[in-house]
């Protein structure tokens, strides 16, 4: 009986061939297959959104890197310059000189389309500033013909990029349908053409009527100085705080309280840090408004919890055997931490820092209240220290400002700005990866 009872399950098992799987194995295999399918679907969904995002950023942002210019020889005499400098609205005087010269040159060349000075004015962007700056910097060039590439107006630029078409254009003081004939003729003559948009990469913000002159360069510098402040303050403070909490601090209620509060701080809305920055740094400490220094300080507060949390996690991940071995051969606690634990935790700390910095780089809300969002077009700071205190904007703030402007030319610039921001971020990430590779050790 006992034999028989033991036999029956065995025979049951024997009847199943090893090569053919039974129902339960099939079920498990199917479950695994399904799980893999879920995983692939999740990745595919993520990838799909990523591709849509990148495609829309690139398709809308790439045109910002091209600009339409009126390229023509222009001669300014010293007398003309003196006259223009004598007026109040100097850039207008330069622009008028250029328009009249272009007008007479086109008349000489015999352009087949009717035009007048007013039409030329509609085709041109704000060109006076460019001309004035050039002659202020190169006074020896007075009296000789110089080839200028001057920005065309926003609507002419749109015509070249397909934003404005003959069907949708409505006659206005900005551009008239008949002007497009002149644009076509000038394009044929090689006077109006598209070139790479260097001013967009190197320039500063411009007034709302001058999308052709707007650039993101100055705000890249602003963001750079802010990140410098954030890095120099939040990394040492964050690492010191987490080493103490993790390696030296006694475990008691007080340290528990600190721990909980650090985690809470990481969830505080970023605008709160802006309010704090306004009250403490500007109104109490009298630091300058709109300065990257204050922006950096505010973002430091925001980044600290991220860095502390990730540093503590990577310190915890170092095996205790390494600490024990160091202490065992007579190292002091500090030597054990600084010679052995910290180098091993460095890659994790770096990752946390980069995530924190990347988050800070894209933040606009805290900057709203300390005066970095708006029209800040001071240009490049004079010198390294001035970079911290002179009014400047930051990349996300600049993008936000452009997106809110009436002229569609700025909308395109906003997308172009996003591309530059992503490239800045990519550079930061690459530096982090290189550093991490260098520090990485295995145990």
């Amino acid at each position: 009986m006992t034999d028989a009872s033991m036999q029956s399950p065995e025979t049951g098992r024997h009847t199943v061939s090893l090569t053919a799987s039974d129902a339960r194995t099939k079920k498990r295999a199917a479950a695994e297959k399904r799980f893999r399918a879920y995983g692939i679907t999740a990745i595919a969904t993520g990838l799909f959104f990523l591709i849509v995002l990148f495609a829309s950023i690139l398709s809308q942002g790439i045109p910002a890197f091209q600009r339409t210019v009126v390229s023509v020889d222009f001669t300014l005499t010293q007398q003309q310059q003196e006259q223009a400098e004598g007026t109040l609205f100097k850039t207008k005087a330069y622009s008028d000189l250029f328009i009249s010269e272009l007008n007479s040159e086109l008349a000489e060349r015999g352009i087949s389309v009717d035009f007048d000075a007013a039409a030329i004015e509609r085709l041109l962007g704000k060109v006076g500033g460019t001309i004035r700056t050039f002659y202020a910097e190169n006074p020896d060039k007075l009296g000789e013909p110089i080839e200028f590439d001057l920005a065309a107006s926003s609507r002419v630029d749109g015509y070249f990029k397909g934003r404005v078409s003959r069907d949708t254009l409505q006659d206005s003081r900005f551009l008239q349908l008949s002007d497009l004939d002149l644009v076509d003729a000038l394009k044929e003559a090689g006077i109006i053409k598209q070139v790479f948009n260097w001013p967009f990469i190197t320039g500063a913000d411009s007034g709302v009527d001058n999308p052709g002159g707007a650039g993101i360069g100055a705000s890249v510098v602003g963001s750079f100085f802010m990140m410098l402040v954030v890095l120099c303050l939040s990394l040492p403070i964050g690492v010191a705080a987490s080493i103490y909490l993790e390696e030296f601090a006694p475990q008691n209620r007080f340290t528990d309280l600190i721990e909980v509060n650090i985690s809470n701080l990481a969830a505080v809305p970023s605008i709160v840090f802006g309010i704090l920055g306004l009250a403490v740094f500007i109104q109490f400490m009298h630091l300058p408004q709109s300065a990257p220094l204050v922006g950096g300080l505010v973002l430091t507060l925001m980044t600290l919890p991220t860095i502390i949390i990730s540093t503590r996690a990577s310190l915890k991940a170092v095996p205790p055997s390494i600490r024990d071995a160091a202490l065992g051969v007579g190292a002091s606690k500090m030597q054990a931490v600084f010679h052995h634990v910290l180098p091993l935790a460095a890659p994790g700390i770096l990752t946390g820092t980069i995530i924190g910095l990347a988050q800070a780089l894209g933040e606009t809300a805290p900057l709203l209240l300390i005066g970095m969002v708006g029209f800040v077009a001071r240009g490049y700071p004079d010198g390294f220290l001035a970079g911290f205190t002179e009014p400047n904007s930051a990349m996300p703030a600049q993008i936000y400002t452009w997106a809110a402007r009436a002229d569609v030319g700025f909308y395109e610039k906003a997308w172009g700005g996003i591309i530059i921001l992503l490239m800045f971020l990519l550079t930061m990430n690459i530096i982090a990866i290189i550093l991490r590779r260098r520090f990485e050790r295995r145990w």
Partner: protein, 346 residues
């Protein structure tokens, strides 16, 4: 150890910069998002045409700007507040409490408020203020009685308007534009439809009735937009029946996307607004802290440059962008030259 050095140097840099920052050399402006475009045009030209650094112009709305303006006197406060409405008594009092007593008022010109819908949507051609009130007021007169607004379509109260669902996007309460919209459209419409009279007959005092006239229905037919006009434009873009409230300059920059509605049979343009034919317009201002003149370099020059004939006049860049030039600009220029403040009489 390098961390110690790093943080020490960072602190040193911060300290040095803080002391170096003692003197602000640029004009600091904040306020109305309607004035912001004009102020940014002037700020850019001011930086290009003078030896002073380019002023910083922040946005945020008239009320927010005046609030910051009234925070006190000193380099850590703003010098100029832009506003798309005149300063209120309450704000002048708040200013005085914080030591901001001498305020110069500068009127830069006029701005029209236009109603526009999607270019490809139905045509809203014949608005009267009464129509807007009927569409979004919270209490309207229907068949002789004052009832909660239940209109769904424009055609229900004006046969000339298309029979489509009501969807209005109006400026939020923090915008100065809202006040003008309430004054010149809602209140005017409330009186024209007889709703105000009915409210007073119903036992309300005149002040209460005026307040009640400004109440906007809360069932989603009217949406407050707290952001900029671009947000309104985005809403209109996705809603063919939507009607948005815009500034004239914004509309003129987007004529390919927007179709403008007439108000009282007049189409908005700089000419009709200057002549007063188009009813919904308002003056734009900025306010200057007199105590900062002579302390912040370029402040008075900025105000003078802003109001110069070549800038704010009829053929200047501001008018070209959409500002309706002030016919009394010369008076404003004199007031700035003499540093005339509010309350001292001009």
């Amino acid at each position: 150890m390098s961390f110690v050095k790093l943080s020490a140097s960072a602190l040193a840099i911060a300290a040095v910069s803080a002391t170096a920052a003692a003197a602000r050399d640029n004009v600091q402006v904040a306020g109305s998002s309607t004035v912001l475009p004009y102020a940014s045009i002037v700020a850019e030209l001011f930086g290009e045409n003078t030896d002073f650094p380019t002023p910083v112009v922040e946005s945020g709305g008239s009320s927010a700007g005046l609030k910051r303006f009234c925070e006190g006197v000193g380099e850590n406060t703003i010098d100029v507040a832009n506003a798309s409405r005149a300063i209120r008594e309450k704000e002048i009092k708040a200013c005085a409490e914080n030591g901001v007593t001498d305020i110069m008022e500068v009127r830069i010109g006029y701005d029209g408020i236009v109603f526009a819908s999607q270019q490809s949507g139905p045509a809203f051609t014949a608005f009267q203020p009464a129509d807007i009130y009927n569409a979004i007021g919270s209490k309207v007169v229907k068949d002789g009685a004052l009832v909660d607004n239940s209109y769904n379509s424009w055609a229900e109260f004006n046969g000339d308007l298309p029979d489509v669902e009501i969807a209005m996007f109006i400026p939020g309460t923090k915008h100065g534009t809202r006040e003008v919209f309430e004054d010149k459209v809602l209140l005017a419409g409330c009186e024209a439809t007889g709703a105000m009279e009915a409210m007073i007959e119903g036992g309300m005092s005149e002040d209460d009735a005026e307040d009640a006239c400004l109440d906007v229905r809360a069932d989603g037919k009217s949406v407050d937009i707290d952001g900029d006009y671009t947000e309104t434009l985005a809403r209109i873009d996705t809603n063919p029946n939507g009607i948005g409230v815009f500034g004239l300059a914004f509309y003129e920059n987007n004529t390919d996307k927007l179709k403008v509605a007439t108000m009282g049979d007049v189409a908005p343009s700089t000419e009709t607004i200057a002549s007063g034919e188009y009813p919904v317009s308002r003056p734009l201002f900025f306010y200057v802290k007199k105590a900062h003149i002579g302390v912040i370099p370029g402040l008075k020059e900025y105000a003078q440059f802003f109001t110069h004939d070549e800038i704010a006049g009829g053929s200047g860049p501001l008018a070209n962008y959409g500002l309706v030039a002030d016919p009394e600009l010369a008076k404003t220029q004199d007031a700035i030259a003499n540093e005339v403040t509010l309350g001292s009489g001009s």
